[in-house]
Amino acid sequence: MKRLVVAAFSLWVAMGFTVASAEEWPTKTIRLVVPYAPGGYTDAVARITANYLEKALGQTVIVDNRAGGGGIVGTDLIAKLPGDGYSLCVCSVGAISISPVAQGVQYDPLKDFKPISIVSTIPQTVIVNPSLPIKSIQDLVSYAKDHPGQLNFGSSGAGGLMYFSVALFQARTGTKMTHVPFKGGSPATAAVVSGEVNLAFTNMTDALPQMEANTVRALAVTSTQRSEFAPQLPTIAETVLPGYSAESWNGILAPASTPDAIIDKLSGVFKKMAADPDVQKSMAIAGASTVFTTPAEYRSRIAQELEQWRSLLKEIADKKT
């Protein structure tokens, strides 16, 4: 009821002052678009973020799920919305850094958005079926070299990070494995458990319960640093491929026309949010590490990732011809 009153009041205020300046922002309900289905990992991050923003900004924050096309539908929607600070997106690495390179989208990830801050990151875990004689990431490289094309790896589809991280791994180690796409990360992880595929670079959240039950063997993580959730696992970068990085992140982006004053104000809020122990605890439950970046850092990270995947695709295409 209270929310309803607040929402009605803010609507009234918004109509009264159609041109609210950035200093007064926010004066009405903020919409947080989530380009994924409710109940998923990004949705969890969004709800934690919305909860904190409501307290910090004193305005209602609605989570609006717009799932479809691996995040493209919702991301495309936010690119076309007016930049008034009342529409924000909890975007993710897939729709921002990979899809624009992999399959072409109608938005330009660097021109149509203003990045504000990454709020959470989650590494991928290299898991193999325990029946394989592969005990470490070094074993994986030498086994794959000895048996070219024979190892099958599962992925969430041709346009996702689960495929791209393995493609990068293959290109840098000079190995060749067979790609077996699934409809989503969860069935791909299940296929490693059942042995239908030999391995996958899977989300840490999906991998952890199976690791505990010894239904899969975890070899390494794909992030530049070890994960707090499985500190015993080495990174790919420290073992076989220095500089290797493929990490899933969720971050807040606004439409490109959003005033800088609002971006700065939000950046300050996210800096405090990353230090909030309650937020850190909730993120940890969802399997994520809480992170803060400045808008400039975030922008250069997106540009860097786009470049990494673009050159990888070119490399793969060149090899084929």
Binding site: A37, G39, A44, R47, G68, G69, H179, E196, P209, A286
Partner: protein
Amino acid sequence: MMSVFGLLGHGFAVAATPTNLFFCLVGAVCGTLIGVLPGLGPVATISLLLPATFALDPTAAIIMLSGIYYGAQYGGSTTAILVNIPGESTSVVTAIDGYKMAQQGRAGEALAIAAIGSFIAGCFGTVVIALLGPPLALMTQRFASPDYFSLMVLGLVSAVVLANGSVFRAISMIFLGLLLGMVGMDINTGEARMTFGFVELSDGIDFVALVMGLFGVAEVISNLEDVSVRIVNHTRVGSIWPSFRVLKGAWGAVMRGTLLGTVFGILPGGGATMASFSAYALEKRIAKDPSRFGKGAIEGVAGPESANNAAAQTSFVPLLTMGIPTSATMALMVGALTLHGIAPGPMIISRQPDLFWGLIASMFLGNVMLVIINLPMIGIWVRLLAVPYRVLYLIICVVCAIGVYSVNNSSFDVYLTIGFTLLGYVLRKLHAEPAPLLMGFVLGPMVEENFRRSLITSHGDPMIFLQRPISFALLLLSVALLISMVMPSISRRREEVFQE
């Protein structure tokens, strides 16, 4: 090691606390309501209520959310039977004979059989989870892509049986369904297929939009056109309680539907929908007089309704024993558990015995609540038919529109529904039935996905489908079914030739 009954007893102690009982009831009531409302499905409802459960204890939360899911299977048949609009995808086939029964003034009977069948199936499914959950989950682990492919082929072949009229039209409808199922992103290449530049179509055509258009709104249009159908509708309501004779006739169908649903529910991918379709096909196949089907056969209601409830129950098995969700609803359950700090995985039974056994016990209690809620409601639902159609059809259209919108919060899906309404109306005029189309639409993408994946894993060797025993047996069954369907028409043609 406590016996299963000891553990189940402990589960009842957990489920029967006032709080958990209350949330079980809330779930059952919510589920019944959204089941009745066409288009509004458990996925949209659970995601809407998910944030509200954050304050609850995880067991209470999961009990309530599960109640919504299996409760929706009870309610889904109501509008299917009364006004030929399936409330859920699993009730599509229930509408074929259920609606005919309602037109004959046997709506009460059909609803009662649906509720009783659902209750028996729900309880049986729960017993199966309790006694056989973990071993069954291990069994499904043996199912790989080639086996799924062959299972889907069997499903497509039996889709022909769904048709009441010409086999040629049924096959055309299956192919049209397959074609519609192709729309969307190809997972092997990431390329968009037949989306015509609409990003909204990149995940394919939404099932709810398709069903609401082809069945729901198209039905409204043909009702508005044909006054005589409507008069039959609300002049004769009939007795609510089924006679002993009817119960006896439905009994076998309930049992077969329950068994079929229990098996299909455990398998990933559209388990409950596939279960209800197959149950209908099976009933029609083994009936002494298959021509009764499509004209108000009670088995056509009892079989599918029992099957979808049993499947709704057993679809929890892979999630609770392996941590593997097999449908969109189960993925939401994973989300709910994760947000409550419980990682669903193979260890969940030993780590969270309260949750596991409490949930199973709550399913028994929930099914009892549902049958108590639903049986007296039948009288009220049947009276709904007395509402003048000029009012009723507006309500139906508005509810359909809200339901379709709620799935993805997308107005694009509402426009799609309008398009499919036109298609549905044209198909009606051509006397082509939409049920085989839906079967093609549901199974087509799964056939393709599993076929291509099988060939990738076998490095291009098609013998993989014959080398795996499960796959081989299923393909053999498909061929046998196909021959048995073609044979009568061949011999009939011969007779005709000889008569000339």
